[in-house]
């Protein structure tokens, strides 16, 4: 190996400790205890083009649960211990309006990552992220128009709504770290490629709030961390 090659490998290892010491993974499940509020059916009768897409009225998505009391749509991320990552990924994330609902209901992205908003419906929507730290904008998107391209330059959990269809609510989780996941329908999440270190994990749910847990990664290991939220009665 030439000096040049050796120095390149050394630089790579220094830049990415995970390569040098092995990368760990944190994975686990998000569950709830107690009895969650039953989700209400959405009355889309004022928007027939959307209503006809469902054999039975869909329900609100504030609390989405699975078998074994698992909880979906929980953002789990490294909130401390990892350096802030300033370079946004080049790949955009997509937020789709389909059947007068948001897909996904909770979309996580990085600070300054491109967000594409798509309207797949036959009706106009307005995309209105109710940002407090970032800029609050509000744009109309009639059917058949190209995707909107936006980005947020600060970390924030942002509620998104469509004013025309008041049942449409979603969330953007804008994060400074690349180590995040959103819990699946079985409550599972996984944060791979973690260099050795001590981290704080935060789990965020739109209605149940946040929980944190500390975890130590020593090398190429997998640590299990589970979160259990207490369901609200109302």
């Amino acid at each position: 190996m030439s000096i040049k090659q050796t120095s390149m490998v050394a630089a790579l290892l220094m830049a990415c400790p995970a390569l040098m010491f092995g990368a760990g993974t944190v994975k686990g499940k998000v569950t709830f205890t107690g009895t969650p509020v039953k989700q209400k059916p959405i009355d889309m009768s004022k928007e027939p083009s959307c209503a006809k897409q469902y054999p039975t009225p869909p329900t609100t998505q504030t609390i989405v649960t699975g078998e074994g009391d698992t909880l979906e749509n929980v953002v789990v991320y490294i909130s401390a211990g990892a350096p802030d990552e300033t370079t946004a990924p080049t790949q955009a994330v997509t937020f789709e309006q389909k059947g007068c609902r948001y897909m996904p209901h909770v979309l996580a992205m990085r600070v300054n990552q491109e967000l594409k908003v798509v309207n797949s419906d036959q009706t106009s929507h307005n995309i209105h992220p109710l940002a407090k730290v970032n800029r609050e904008w509000n744009k109309s998107q009639p059917p058949g128009t190209p995707p909107l391209s936006e980005k947020f330059d600060k970390e924030e959990f942002i509620s998104v709504k469509c004013n025309v269809h008041p049942w449409m609510r979603g969330y953007f989780a804008v994060l400074k770290t690349s180590h995040y996941d959103v819990s699946k329908d079985n409550g599972s999440f996984a944060l791979p490629n973690l260099p050795p270190g001590k981290y704080t994990l935060t789990a965020w749910h739109e209605d149940y709030g946040t929980q944190t847990a500390d975890v130590m990664i020593a090398g190429s290991e997998t640590k299990n961390v589970n979160f259990a939220f207490k369901a609200k009665a109302f």
């Binding site: 209105h128 509000n138 744009k139």
Partner: protein, 296 residues
């Protein structure tokens, strides 16, 4: 020993004084409206005299009158403003704020402050900018260019009506612009306060919009949106000429207002032109081995 303690105290007080002075200095803002320059220090007394009781000491819209006012006074700490010539989500220009103060907001408790001098209003604009750090950290936004208005005729009004339907403005404003569309009763502003869509048909000959009374003001309203409310920006989806057509149609919804648009519509017997059929989509050339659907 005692002398040293006193010296230390003097130094500490001096440092604290300098820090406080620099902190206050950091809050000083200016506004620039044409040849006028406003100074926030000069705006302080004016704010306490005229604005304080509604907008509050901290500019958060929580003045002692706020509880009795609907819609609620603007929260300057959020730096979200309704009437702008800038893209949705961006700060307004100094001139936008200056005009808002002079014009007031119809259908609200904010009166026109035209009796104040131009300099007073410029100073108030500068003072309002001290309530949010966004004025220090954000670059000036791009200002919307309003192209010259094409002539009003029945074609432009009719096309404007087509856009009103296509863009589904009626869902909030109603088919006749009376603010009674199917979504009207469910609308809330960014602070979750109920809000009604604009009723074009209400008011008399002098009826005007919150953000001005000229055709160019209407153009700006829907191209930039009314931030903090459900009214979105259509700037990404309407071309300038189409936007003017929509302005011409919206004027006809102001049935009690004398306007060129209403005269043109009346001269046409009150009837809009039928919608032009959409041009046929160009046929895609058939692939050499194309087969009829379902054929094998």
């Amino acid at each position: 020993m005692r002398t040293k303690i006193f010296q230390g105290m003097f130094v500490a007080i001096g440092v604290a004084f300098l820090a406080a002075a620099s902190l206050c200095g950091a809050q000083e803002m200016e506004s620039h409206i044409g040849s006028l320059t406003g100074h926030s220090n000069d705006g302080t007394k004016l704010y306490k005299r005229y604005c304080f009781y509604c907008h509050g000491q901290y500019g958060d819209g929580a003045g002692e009158n706020a509880a009795w006012i609907e819609p609620k006074p603007r929260d300057f700490t959020a730096a979200t403003f309704k009437c702008r010539s800038t893209t949705t989500g961006f700060l307004p220009t100094d001139e936008d704020l200056y005009k808002s103060i002079a014009r007031g907001f119809s259908n609200s408790n904010m009166p026109p402050w035209a009796p104040l001098s131009n300099q007073n209003r410029a100073d108030l604009v500068a003072y309002i900018k001290t309530f949010s750090p966004r004025w220090k950290t954000e670059k000036p936004a791009e200002v919307l260019v309003v192209p010259s208005e094409p002539p009003v005729n029945i074609e432009s009004i009719s096309h404007g009506h087509e856009l009103f339907e296509k863009l589904e403005c009626w869902k909030c404003h109603g088919q006749e612009g009376r603010g009674d569309g199917p979504s009207a009763s469910t609308l809330t502003d960014s602070k979750d306060q109920p809000i009604r869509p604009y009723n074009f048909a209400g008011g008399a000959n002098d009826s005007r919009f919150k953000c001005g009374s000229e055709n160019a003001d209407i153009y700006k309203i829907f191209m930039t949106g009314v931030d903090g409310t459900p009214m979105p920006s259509f700037g990404d989806v309407i071309k300038p000429n189409d936007a003017w057509d929509l302005v011409h149609f919206l004027r006809t919804l102001q049935v009690n207002r004398k306007s060129k648009e209403n005269e043109v519509l009346k001269a046409a017997g009150g009837k809009l032109l039928p919608e032009k059929p959409a041009p046929p989509a160009p046929e895609a050339p058939a692939a050499p081995d194309a087969k009829a659907p379902g054929s094998r």
